[in-house]
Amino acid sequence: MTSYIIKRLILMIPTFAVISLIIFVVLNFAPGSPAGATVGGDGMENVSADARESYRIFKEQFGLDKPVMFNTRYALTAEEVTAELAVVGDFYRPVCPAEGEAPPNCITLAERPTSARIIAAQEQIEDWGDYIVPHLFAIASTHERVDVRRQAANRLSQNAQRRLINEYGRTQTPEERAHNQSVSAENNRMRSWTLPASAGAEEVDQLLAEHWGPWFEQHGARFDYSLGNKIGIFFTDTRFARYWANLLRFDFGVSTVDKKPVMATIIKKLGYTITLSFFSLFFAYIISVPLGVWSAYNRGTKTDDGVTLTLFLLYSLPSFFAAVLLLRFFAMGDPVKWFPAGGFVGNNAELMSTLQYMQSVGWHLLLPVICLTYGALASLSRYARTGLLDVIRADYIRTARAKGLSESMVVIKHAVRNGMIPILTLLGALLPSLISGSVVIEFIFNIPGLGLYLFESITMRDYNAIMGCLLMSTVLTLFGMLVSDVSYAVVDPRISFD
């Protein structure tokens, strides 16, 4: 048994890695991106200028400018870079008028890149970062179109900037500090090496001769990648590598929405959700198992049919509907106000004694627990009923009766113990649901739990938060499956893993 458990535990590691890889890839390739402008439920925007620079800073902090899995940017060719730069250049050329004299460098409406194309091109050049610096320098020096040369020169002042070290960490070592100082001084200098939109070929030449030429001579070697460098970049300078490097240190990252560590938020919310789910599961079992046993024992009678019908009626009543009704009738004060209208605990929780706190939580959770419980009753009691029916006709039950045991003894000791094996193992499978929570119930009863958090994180594309929640439930699912497998062996001596 022990060796079986250890084997399973070891197998969990690659399983977890594969699952996390799949989630990560699906998440990063899904449409939409974090920090897209949000809009309230009323569909109203505020007039605002493009937040381009802020978005770039944001992307850098969360590594969103990196490729997802593999980085081949060291192998970019000058043609690829030129193509994107030309799109940007074309966009700023005047459109040829239908009649009259056309300006010298005009572009026809049909050739003009679409808005989608220009947005993609700008983003692409920005994301390529310093991998394209040598190409930019070459294009700025030699390309035949002046506007493309100007674009390339201006991009240099952004793309050639170097990243600081330990820039978000709290304390920096003196060496780091010294490095950051020199890098930031260089970056600041570079930022001013730009050209106005009206600049001609001479001005581009002048800027290159004055600033970029000497700079490139000095720093050009940085961009000659050795094979080792390339392999390193290919695997490590990516979003996935970055995420996993942090994960190995149990760092789940900070939320892109509120910039707070994701794990701290998840653990805080976990408390609410686990309490809610635990009690609903607990009551579901407490009620449905005896009910199932009872109805199996009275199989085929009118009352059994009645119970079955009632349970299925409850099962088909949607919980969100019941939740609103319960609130409407028992929390609004019309007709009665017996319960608070949502929330997890009353005001001033820090001033409550343990007992008061428990009372308050119980008071707040009663309605949501009812909503979560009644739907599960039907299926759980069906399991219990079928489980018992399977064994009640078995030979050993007849034997037990034959040797003169009382009827209750037969049912409780011999039938129920054997008949409840499936329902016990079901518990293991239900373990992950403890933390997944119920979005709808949490929404209506205003319980700040994990289900709601995951849902909102998905709408905001908060990658780190989504990953954190899903990995958490992955771990629980894996353990839940192990527990349910082991529990088979524990309760049923006929099953053995050795």
């Binding site: 605002s48 902090q61 989608a116 343990t354 205003n446």
Partner: protein, 646 residues
Amino acid sequence: MPRTFQATIALIVTLNVLAVLTIINVWQTNSAEKNVIALRARVDQVQQSNSQILAQLASGVAVNVQAGGQGAGAGSGDAYAAALNEPGNLLVAATDQLIFPDAKQGGTLRRIMGSDPKGFNWVTESSVDVSELQGYVHNTFARADFNNPDAYVPELAYKITANEDYTEYVIHLRKGIYWHVPNVDFSKGHFDWLREPRELKAEDAVFFFELMKNSQVEAGSIKSYYDDLKGAEVIDDYTFRVTWKRSVAQSKIFTIGLYPMPKWLFSRDEHGEELPAETLGLAFNNHWSAATPIGTGPYKFERYEAGVRLVLQRNDKYFGERPPIDRLEYQIVRDPETQFIRLRANEVDFMGNIPAPRYKSDIVDGTAASPFKNGQLKHEVIDVFAYYYLGWNADKPMFADKRVRWAMTHALNRQGIIDNVYHGLGEIQTGPYYYQHPAIDPSIEAIPFDLAKAAKLLDEAGWIDTNGDGIRDKMIDGQRVDFKFTLTAYNRPEVRSQLSIYREDLRKIGIMMQPDPVEWPLMQRRMDEKEFDAFTGGWGLSWFNDPYQLWHSSQADVPKGSNRVGFRNTEADKIIEDLRTTFDAEERITKLRALHRIIHADQPYTFFYAPKAVVAWQPKMQNMVFQKTRPQTYSLPWYIDESAAR
């Protein structure tokens, strides 16, 4: 009885006994715990008053100013009032009497917030709920007068002067204004350096402008407005100068209508150590103190429990007139229906937006039993400072002709939709400003709902049903094109029903419109990439109008620009550029009206309606005044009279 069964029974009995014992134990410790809690509360109280006394002793100035300012409004009775009459001062005395003289003091105002704020860094967060909080916690140098939003009245500054072309501003701050003490956990010793209240200095004001110029600060779109800023410099502790590269009209609002940032806080880490200057901007974006934001305003930030509530506490050292209400408690409730249940259950005192179906059933069609009719709740309909519109993509041949766009407006039954879909909660919009703003040209009448006229205009524009299939068509570039288009719409139930009405009316005049309700991220992408025929949109408004981003032709060619419909009009461009350098209020109105006329004649949008909101409150709330401009539900003048409770 078999042994195993006996063992099971024994186990169950033991467990039960243990459970009972635990409960008894909790019960017993409970009373002891209660005493501890009461004691702790008392100790906290003593500590609080102690620190208050200490703070007052340490800052004798603050006590003096407080005594001097007692009962007098900011900038009215005190020494700074005289400065308002000095020549060149841009500020004028306030005309809005914010606080009722006989207001009852104290109490907690419980209100609602619809979602969690993303964070409390006043510079990097710009969402509506955070700016509302900022209005309570912090002060601007000068604020717009609620009665006359074109006039600026003193807040932190008592005097602001500018040179002739508004490129240089000199701002004089009041003395003796203190920053709140951040509400951090002082039991952690390393926060001790924060205990001492600090005075607002000119360097804090200048710090804001430095942040705007810092290439590492992630401040959304605000930064773009400071592209023309040259710099800011400290003159002395209470005076500073702001210079702009060019003369631009919005420089005024972006110089004096903003919030200073505490430099002594944001340039340091948690232990009070100076942050390295090279990474200051990045540290600022993720600064630890944003969890407990501070300001100089009438309320202090007290507590935030994610997903539950946010509490503000009155600042007893506030330099201006103190509001009557002690505490503001925002309960975070997402579901509008649950929000309303909380209001009915008397768990909140004020609700800023009653769901429209509730307005219909409980107020419009309310019977005598309705809480709004039997005196349990009160309500008022207020303007939301915004408008909705339909945007036509003028770059598509279909909507390039302005007669077609006029026809589309004629075909939209605006009043009918407002009355039937929105239960009358709206006002027909005719132009790009707030419908009661003086810049709205009064001579312009709303285009009436008239299908016959719409059909006639379409005929004139060449859209005629030639093949008898019931849909108008036209030869475009040698091809016969049917008048069919897709209307990209923000996915809300009301929008879907309003569009089905519009679709039916368009069908009557031979146009096939296909509504396409989508979620916001997709909608925004389509608008950024200009992949649409037409769309539904809404703009929040501000009193100061700078039409550049929405209506200047250059913005139609900027990637992700706001002129999505491709409105290009040389006459309008001229006016818009002039407006950017026009400072005189009268002249601005004339020009804005001229722009309104051009936009009306061209119909790049079908202006739809200005929405209204229904606010409701418990009858114990008194002096419920609402402002015309944002934030409309600014609670400073309100007070609570418990004797009026239901």
